[in-house]
């Protein structure tokens, strides 16, 4: 019995698990996106494409039906109408209706925080935008033409909740049942939460009544939290677990060539590790100093030692026009020294180099090598390792002069990335506090540009600006890596970087 159960059960280890079952909740963490993804359905989902190496990955260019069987954009281009699947049911058996969809979207745009922000990225801002036409038809009115509107309805935040069930647990103080949904699911997705012990384990079982896609192969999935990467490695190597997800680069290197382990690494779209310089903190307001830093960084050493070559270099000149794209910079001490001299800092200066302790596996070697390299041009640095929550606060405060950090945008568009990281609106992720009206104009233009040629010109324009002024020096594009037993198939990379259990199977 144990062996049979083993066949239909998938054992997954991850570093840490969800802190909520409700992606709309306050303070919900990343792993919770994965839970939401598998437990809730959305109206649409993205297509899938095969990569050159044979692995599958979502295709951000195509949208496929999930709860909605079809949708049409109004002639005037001012709204979209969704037709819901008639046989879809929530886990408790309640049919899925347009009212549920509206309730869910209303909730997302009202509760504030991350869901509201994410909806806003697709110009979905007000409950009035969501109109129930009939029980199985829903119209969404556009506030403005935004090519992100439809894609934004396929991200985890746009999950559809069982409003009947949720409302039962709503209170006047808590009209959106935030408290209840945090620990209870009200979804209709392919998997149900069988048990959840926060901080240690989540067990999913297949929802047999799922209609929004092909029936998943796995009956039961156990996701265990194992913080130690060494243990993760040992477990997968010894065959004790089926999947180890989101591995550290070192683990990947060590697992490479092990016969019993299958490894898949997918570059994380729209993401990069970088060294950022706060342009409001002299002397980093001096572009020559920034360029000097860009020229002195030991890119290859960093790439080898910090991620063991697990990634895509973002330095030494571009070979194509993809985004993210390598910078023209490469290690050149003489040039760096010259730039420092030109900037009037031959003697160098002292500053602090910060990074997030939570990411120290990669951040620390990068910081150490950066520190060592900067010392060559007279910049002496004190390394400041900032624990998780403080990191958030420090980013918000924007007072770190020099940092090693990573950022990735969900929606795979360069202007989306630049909007958050370089734009003068000075979002948190513009950790360099960089402001350049010229760049802002280009980014804003690209966002709503429909003409491909013009769009391309805008994109090239802001990339060039950003790379010339180098407030942030891109280092490399990281991978999300998964290791599995050879008999596990159906792994798919998703932009949210969580496991899609629905496609996984054991042979």
């Amino acid at each position: 019995a144990l062996a049979d159960a083993r066949k239909e059960t998938l054992l997954v280890v991850i570093e840490s698990g969800p802190n909520s079952l409700d992606i709309h909740g306050v303070g919900t963490n990343r792993p919770a996106y994965g839970t939401s993804w598998n437990v809730y359905d959305r109206l649409m989902t993205y297509g899938v494409k095969k990569l050159a190496n044979g692995t599958e990955m979502y295709d951000y260019k195509t949208l496929k039906p999930e709860l909605a069987t079809k949708w049409e954009i109004a002639k005037d281009g001012k709204s979209v109408t969704f037709h819901l699947r008639r046989d879809a049911k929530f886990h408790d058996g309640t049919p899925v209706t347009a009212a549920d969809v509206k309730w869910s979207f209303d909730r997302a745009v009202t509760v504030g925080g991350f869901p509201t922000f994410q909806m806003k990225a697709g110009s979905l801002e007000k409950p009035e935008q969501f109109v129930v036409v009939d029980p199985y038809t829903l119209r969404i009115d556009f506030l403005r033409a935004d090519k992100l509107t439809l894609p934004d309805l396929a991200v985890p935040v746009a999950a559809i909740y069982n409003s009947t069930l949720a409302k039962k647990h709503a209170t006047p103080d808590d009209p959106w049942a935030m408290a209840w949904l945090k620990n209870n699911e009200a979804g209709g997705g392919a998997y149900q939460v069988a048990s959840w012990r926060p901080g240690s384990e989540m067990v999913y079982t297949r929802f047999e009544g799922w209609k929004s896609g092909p029936k998943p192969k796995l009956k039961r999935v156990v996701v265990r939290e194992v913080p130690s990467s060494a243990s993760q490695q040992a477990l997968i190597e010894r065959g004790d677990v089926d999947v180890a997800f989101d591995l550290s680069p070192k683990t990947v290197v060590d697992l490479k060539g092990k016969p019993r382990v299958k490894l898949i690494g997918t570059p994380i779209e729209n993401a990069m590790w970088y060294v950022g310089m706060n342009v409001t903190k002299p002397p980093f307001n001096n572009v020559k100093v920034r360029q000097a830093v860009a020229y002195v960084l030991p890119y290859q050493k960093i790439f080898d030692a910090a991620v063991y070559g697990q990634g895509i270099p973002l330095y030494g000149g571009a070979k194509n026009t993809d985004w993210p794209r390598p910078t023209p910079y490469k290690t050149d001490l003489a040039k760096a020294k010259k730039l420092m001299a030109e900037a009037g800092f031959e003697k160098g200066f002292a500053t602090t180099l910060s990074f997030d302790q939570g990411l120290s596996f990669i951040g620390e070697p990068v910081a150490l090598l950066t520190q060592e390299a900067l010392a060559q041009i007279g910049i002496t640095t004190t390394i400041n390792k900032i624990p998780g929550a403080n990191w958030r606060a420090a980013l918000l405060k924007k007072d770190m002069p020099l940092m090693v950090n990573t950022f990735g945008g969900w929606l795979n568009y360069p202007e989306y990335f630049f909007y958050w990281t370089y734009h003068g609106q000075n979002a948190v992720f513009n950790s360099m506090s960089y402001q350049n009206p010229k760049l802002d104009k280009l980014v804003d233009a690209a966002r709503f540009e429909t003409n491909p040629a013009k769009y391309k010109k805008d994109v090239e324009g802001f990339i060039k600006l950003a790379y010339d002024e180098v407030p942030r020096v891109p280092l490399f594009q990281p991978l999300v890596s998964v290791a599995m037993q050879p008999n596990v198939v159906g792994y798919r990379y998703w932009f949210h970087r969580q496991l899609d259990l629905r496609s996984l199977a054991k042979r």
Binding site: V26, G113, F114, F117, V226, S231, D240
Partner: protein, 339 residues
């Protein structure tokens, strides 16, 4: 007699209240000193400054410290320890589910230490300065000198990775089993109560390496205290009296010597136990043990006030109870101490 014991216990508990109150205050203050900003954490990665402010208000973090403290006390009085940001659960629930894990680990570790440490101590004390004594001393002392995180890693490497004798360091149970119905929260005991031997075996197998890691650390104080105490007692006048009366070696060793050494041993056990509860953090981290230590560590790193406050308070209460039981046990052994 009985009423006296109750009144003693009562007055001890009353006497611990000021300490507990101070613990509450100090923890509260230290937590507010943390540089992190829970509102920023709560608000999510992309929040604007206003959004963070809004959250701050929601959480009541914009109020003055005394007011926050008063609110906290009010919540505490109702048994509400607050919410953890990291797990998203009420702290009380988290503690209830995780405390047994830590306790089970610590108790088993202590058992291992006692089962090994006491005989070693007796062995040393009955052959002072012999090579047996020296070797025992060196081994046990080395035990306390090994950083637990280091021992744990080495044990995993050897017994799991190289030899494959022990199960994966994955917490309290093999992934294939689900926990037994909860009675005590101790998986081994609950499994026995449920008659589920497979789960019992798995739970026990999972316990061994972390418990040995901790237990090895606790070995030295126990062995040492046994040795020192026993040496003292063995050279005492009353043991000499017992010998002069022709009492057999066994009776002398147990009834006269060991029993008199019990008080310092019990005290050491209490101390070791409380110390182990504290350094559980490290072992739990290495062995992915879902206990309160790793819970508190994560919360601390995340500036998550409530879990840390709750944890410290829970441990402080535990210490009070522990010390009380040690004192009662000592009082039972040596009536002079009960007065």
């Amino acid at each position: 007699m009985n009423t006296r014991i109750f009144s003693t216990i009562g007055s001890r508990l009353l006497g611990a209240l000021p300490s507990l109150a101070a613990v509450i205050v100090v923890t509260f203050v230290i937590m507010r000193l943390l540089p992190g900003d829970p509102a920023a954490f709560f608000a999510g990665p992309a929040a604007s400054a206003e959004a963070v402010e809004q959250i701050r208000e929601q959480l009541g973090l914009n109020r003055s410290l005394p007011v926050q403290f008063w609110d906290y006390l009010g919540d505490l009085a109702q048994g509400d320890f607050g919410q953890s940001f990291t797990t998203g659960q009420p702290v009380a629930a988290d503690l209830v589910s995780r405390l047994p894990a830590s306790l089970e680990l610590t108790i088993v570790a202590l058992l291992i230490a006692v089962v090994l440490g006491l005989p070693l101590g007796v062995l040393s004390a009955t052959r002072p300065n012999s090579w047996v004594d020296q070797v025992t001393r060196l081994v046990t002392t080395t035990g306390t000198c090994l950083p637990t995180f280091f021992t744990g890693l080495v044990l995993i490497y050897v017994f799991y990775y190289l030899l494959g004798w022990s199960p994966a360091p994955l917490g309290r149970l093999d992934l294939m089993y689900s926990p037994p119905p909860e009675v005590t929260g101790f998986y081994t005991i609950d499994a026995v109560l449920a008659g589920d031997w497979e789960v019992f075996r798995s739970a026990l197998a999972q316990l061994i390496l972390p418990a040995v890691t901790l237990g090895f650390f606790a070995l030295a104080p126990l062995a040492r205290m046994t040795r020192a105490g026993l040496l003292g007692v063995l050279s005492s006048d009353y043991v000499r009296t017992a010998r002069a009366c022709g009492l057999s070696s066994r009776v002398v060793l147990t009834r006269y010597a060991l029993k008199n050494t019990l008080v310092p041993i019990l005290n050491t056990m209490g101390m070791v136990f409380s110390y182990l509860l504290g350094i559980n953090v490290l072992v739990e981290k290495v062995f992915a043990w879902p206990g309160v230590g790793s819970y508190a560590l994560e919360a601390l790193v995340a500036s998550d006030y409530a879990p840390v406050q709750g944890f410290v308070l829970a441990i402080a209460v535990l210490y009070v109870l522990l010390n009380l039981s040690v004192d009662i046990a000592c009082g039972l052994v040596d009536r002079r101490l009960a007065r």
